[in-house]
């Protein structure tokens, strides 16, 4: 993939919070394999940033480089204006939560949370007070005397979080913290982590492969693929304005249709949408929710007939697969509400009218 590495760090202008973490041309090689191809990224104070990408995209490696657990082959890591590229983990300022939690199983919850405090020669009473405060913060007051094995996965995760925050680090690193939990617990805990982060105000980097998780908690998402940053932006940007086919495909569901740009118009099957640019073959990326079944008024543009081929029932909404003659029989997935389907008595084989929202179409 011959692709220029863009500088994803916005200029360090006036009126914007300074970078807490700055990555400069981070490159990581494992033998002949290049895991990271020169990553540039700046993270601002108090930001919640998610590294999102499929497994093997380098997101965890990047996190571990920031933590000093891996050493980059070249490039620099800056924290608060200091070059920390060569500092060992113990001399960097961060708290970390791993996927496995890595709680010390033979120590009580209180001892786990106080692990980093005791070493700093803090008086016992003060340590106890801080532990109680942290446990309250993560919503588990009074479980000081328990052992990790007596807690559920979600509770263990909260304790790991409390332990990481105990020393009030300037940076919180979360390495797939929710992936070992069941679906319900994940959804609940990710909101708790977000609320906690807002309350404490700690700059946070979370690695995840779950796009929904990233969309729901992050201030900014860094989408990575094959060791490069595909796009960095707010969840809305990433979803609505994907910078590359990869991002469009990886984040959210998307319909991909062959198209052609010719003399100022984008032609998708029989539909034509105004579009500038040179004449070329193109692909259209279209989110299912950007194909509407209603409201469609008489005379609306970009309306076409379709026939329902398959309905996947998912509760209040259904994923409906349609085929449209206007799209040269390319299949299209749209989201229709259950109410609409029953109002219109739609079932497999039924015809219906659909409308494209041209402003939402992404062309690559």
């Amino acid at each position: 993939m011959a692709k220029a590495v863009e500088d994803h760090a916005p200029p360090n202008g006036a009126g914007v919070a300074p970078y807490v973490i700055e990555l400069r041309r981070i490159r990581k090689e494992f033998g002949a394999f290049t895991a990271l191809h020169g990553i540039d990224l700046g993270i601002r104070k108090g930001e919640f940033v998610c590294f999102l990408g499929p497994s093997g995209c380098g997101k965890t490696t990047l996190l571990r480089i920031i933590a000093g657990l891996e050493v980059q082959t070249s490039g620099e890591v800056w924290q608060n204006g200091h070059d920390i590229s060569r500092l060992p983990p113990a001399q960097r300022d961060y708290g970390i939560v791993f996927q496995s939690y890595a709680l010390f199983p033979n120590l009580t919850v209180a001892d786990n949370v106080a692990y980093g405090l005791v070493n700093r020669r803090t008086p016992r009473a003060q340590v106890d007070a801080r532990v109680a405060e942290l446990l309250k913060l993560v919503g588990l007051p009074g479980c000081q005397k328990k052992y990790p094995s007596q807690l559920s996965g979600g509770q263990q995760q909260r304790i790991a979080l409390a332990r990481a925050l105990a020393t009030s680090p300037g940076l919180l690193l979360l390495d797939e913290p929710l992936s070992a939990l069941d679906a319900l617990e994940r959804v609940r805990l990710r909101q708790e982590i977000r609320a906690l982060q807002q309350k404490v105000g700690v700059t946070t980097i979370m690695v995840t492969h779950d796009q929904e998780e990233a969309l729901s908690v992050a201030d900014r998402i860094v989408v990575m693929n094959d060791g490069v940053i595909e796009q960095a932006g707010t969840p809305m940007d990433i979803y609505r304005e994907p910078a590359s086919p990869f991002v469009a495909d990886f984040v959210g569901k998307v319909n991909v249709l062959p198209a052609r740009v010719a003399s100022g118009a984008l032609r998708v099957g029989a539909l034509s949408i105004p579009c500038d640019g040179e004449d070329r073959e193109a692909r259209v990326y279209l989110r299912p929710e950007d194909v509407l079944a209603r409201p469609i008024a008489e005379g609306d543009a970009h309306v076409f007939d379709a026939r329902i081929e398959k309905i996947e029932f998912l509760g209040s909404y259904c994923h409906v697969k349609v085929a449209a003659p206007a799209l040269e029989q390319n299949k299209l997935t749209v989201y229709l509400s259950l109410n609409y389907l029953s109002e219109q008595s739609l079932s497999v084989g039924s015809p219906l009218k659909l409308k494209l929202l041209p402003e939402r179409i992404k062309v690559f």
Binding site: R25, G38, P88, N119
Partner: protein
């Protein structure tokens, strides 16, 4: 803040992290361990190589010693004897052990734990205990001497005695490997076979045997190596039947012919190294075979089959008990075979007159030292290797050195120690003949098994403990003390017990290294036997077995006590 780096910097040398002072502590410790292992293992072994290519005056003679060896008919006979005896024992003991292991792992036979316990008893005594017992059963004044001559064996001394005694000595070793191999079965394969109506015999040959293939290879190799390098049994019951192991002793201690001794030692090293290499390969295949999704095999009740298995195991267990029982009985007999009333004569003779009491104390001291310092060394080294970073080159060397002892027979190690520590120019020379050196040699001799236990325990810990500690600014040694060590105490007790029992019963390595005042009990038994005091020898062997058994019980209660004190957190583990 500096400007963005010029692109030329991308081609510069890779970034290296500066080391934290705690990393330096770990690296210094690793260096220390490396030096110790080089001095206690690598250099002694290299000295053997050196001696093998040196003449009497220390001049370089290339392969002359090997050629001279090949031209000595007596020594070649020993080589041949060693080979065929070891092969024969392997052929007898491994199938017997396989049957026993099969009964333990694949049947609903009652008292399986008891059967297993009985067959492990030989591990508690020096291997030569079985040789002594055989002498009482089949020797010139043996109980069953008549029966033996009736089947055509003129006397037990020589090959028949060695083969029989070795079978008993190696049985528990082969059994442990095979039980492990047979326990690793995937029930789904058998269910699939049953669903297709496969016959029992076909299941055995198409599922069971291929599944246990690696275990069988491993058991056969280990058996062969144990027999070919064993010294005690051929010494006691070999008579004029010479084997390599006894040759080394005669050449080095008797004739002071270090060069030729070194050549024989290298011959002994060869099968051990092959075994080690094959075993290493085999064990990696073995673990890959069983996936995490396998369903463990649970034997079903089958009255007739279970009864047949019980009968077979009872027979073997009875033979083992007969061996042990005879030694115990004879050690208490007043005057074999004429007056069998019980007395403590042999114990008095051994402990008081032959001053074995002192040797026994030496043994206990050495075993305690081995258990204490060996466990500490093994565990710290394993920890440094597994959980710290840096000095990758040195790390690879240490890793190799921790695995090497598995491939070095005790006799060879002991010989290396004489050559190395007895050399006049060696600053470590004062150690020679001391109990300290005996202890160090024993630690190194049994190092690898302890190391593997420690590594297994350490690998089961979350690999991010050290990363978490570093992020919390807690030095690694504090986490070692507060977390790693407490979690690993059961493994530590296991390692200590293993060291203790083996130090009590070992002969092969220490036989070269003792001085009169640092003689250990297992050596004293050899000397008693040589002096014709076989009753006393039996008594002392029984005493060692009793001490080992007591130690095992003590270690087990220690493990239980520690478990209650430090492992409370395991209580509700999911």
């Amino acid at each position: 803040m500096s400007a963005v780096l010029p692109s030329a910097a991308d081609a510069a040398a890779p970034v290296r992290q500066s080391a934290h002072w705690t990393d330096r502590v770990a690296q210094a410790a690793l260096l220390g361990v490396a030096l110790a292992l080089v001095a206690l293992l690598a250099l002694p072994l290299l000295t053997i190589l050196l001696h093998a290519v040196q003449g009497k005056a220390g001049e370089f003679v290339a392969l002359d010693n090997f050629i001279a060896y090949a031209r000595t008919p007596a020594l070649l006979t020993s080589l041949w004897n060693s080979l065929w005896v070891s092969a024969l024992v392997t052929l007898i003991a491994v199938p017997l052990a396989f049957g026993f292991a099969y009964a333990l792992a694949r049947s609903c036979m009652p008292y399986r734990a008891l059967f297993r316990g009985i067959t492990l008893i030989p591990l508690l005594a020096p291997s030569l205990l079985s040789a002594i017992s055989l002498i009482y059963w089949f020797g010139n004044q043996g109980v069953l001497k008549q029966a033996m001559t009736a089947v055509g064996i003129a006397e037990i001394y020589g090959a028949p005695g060695i083969v029989l005694a070795e079978c008993f000595a190696v049985f528990p070793h082969a059994l442990m490997i095979l039980v492990t191999a047979l326990s690793l079965a995937d029930a789904r394969l058998y269910e699939a076979a049953d669903a297709m109506g496969t016959s029992a015999a076909r299941k055995f040959f198409t599922i069971t045997l291929p599944g246990a293939k690696y275990g069988l290879i491993s058991a056969a190799l280990v058996t062969f190596t144990l027999v070919i390098t064993d010294f005690g049994i051929p010494k006691v019951i070999g008579g004029s039947f010479n084997v390599l192991a006894t040759d080394v002793f005669k050449l080095v201690i008797g004739q002071q012919d270090f060069s030729r001794g070194a050549v024989v030692a290298l011959l002994l090293l060869a099968p051990a190294v092959v075994t080690f290499a094959v075993d290493h390969y085999v064990s990696s295949r073995q673990t890959a075979m069983l996936t995490a999704r396998a369903v463990p095999y649970r034997p079903k009740r089958a009255p007739k089959y279970d009864a047949a298995m019980t009968l077979y195991c009872s027979l073997i267990a009875l033979l083992v008990l007969a061996m042990l029982g005879m030694a115990v009985f004879a050690s208490f007999a007043s005057f074999w075979p004429y007056k069998l009333t019980p007395s403590l004569r042999h114990y008095m003779l051994g402990l008081v007159d032959a001053e074995v009491g002192e040797a026994f104390l030496n043994s206990l001291t050495m075993a305690a030292g081995t258990a204490l310092f060996g466990t500490a060394l093994v565990f710290c080294t394993a920890y440094l290797l597994e959980k710290t970073k840096g000095m990758d080159g040195l790390r690879a060397i240490v890793r190799l050195l921790t695995m090497l002892p598995m491939a070095v027979p005790g006799l060879v190690l002991g010989l290396g120690y004489i050559f190395f520590f007895n050399a006049p120019g060696n600053p470590l020379n004062p150690l020679y003949h001391t109990l300290t050196l005996l202890t160090l040699c024993t630690i190194v001799h049994f190092y690898t098994t302890g190391h593997l236990t420690a590594v297994t325990a350490l690998k089961s810990l979350d690999s991010e403990f050290e990363a978490v500690s570093a992020s919390l600014k807690v030095p690694f040694f504090k986490t070692f003390w507060r977390v790693t060590l407490p979690i690993c105490t059961p493994a530590l007790v296991d390692i200590a017990r293993y060291f203790f029992i083996n130090a009590m019963t070992t002969i092969s390595a220490v036989v070269f290294l003792y001085a009169p005042e640092t003689k250990v009990a297992s050596i004293a038994i050899l000397n008693l036997d040589e002096a014709g005091e076989i009753g006393a020898a039996a008594a002392m062997a029984v005493l060692i077995a009793a001490a080992s058994a007591t130690a095992t019980l003590l270690f087990m209660s220690l493990a239980w006590w520690i478990g209650r004190r430090t492992q409370a957190w395991r209580g509700n583990e999911r």
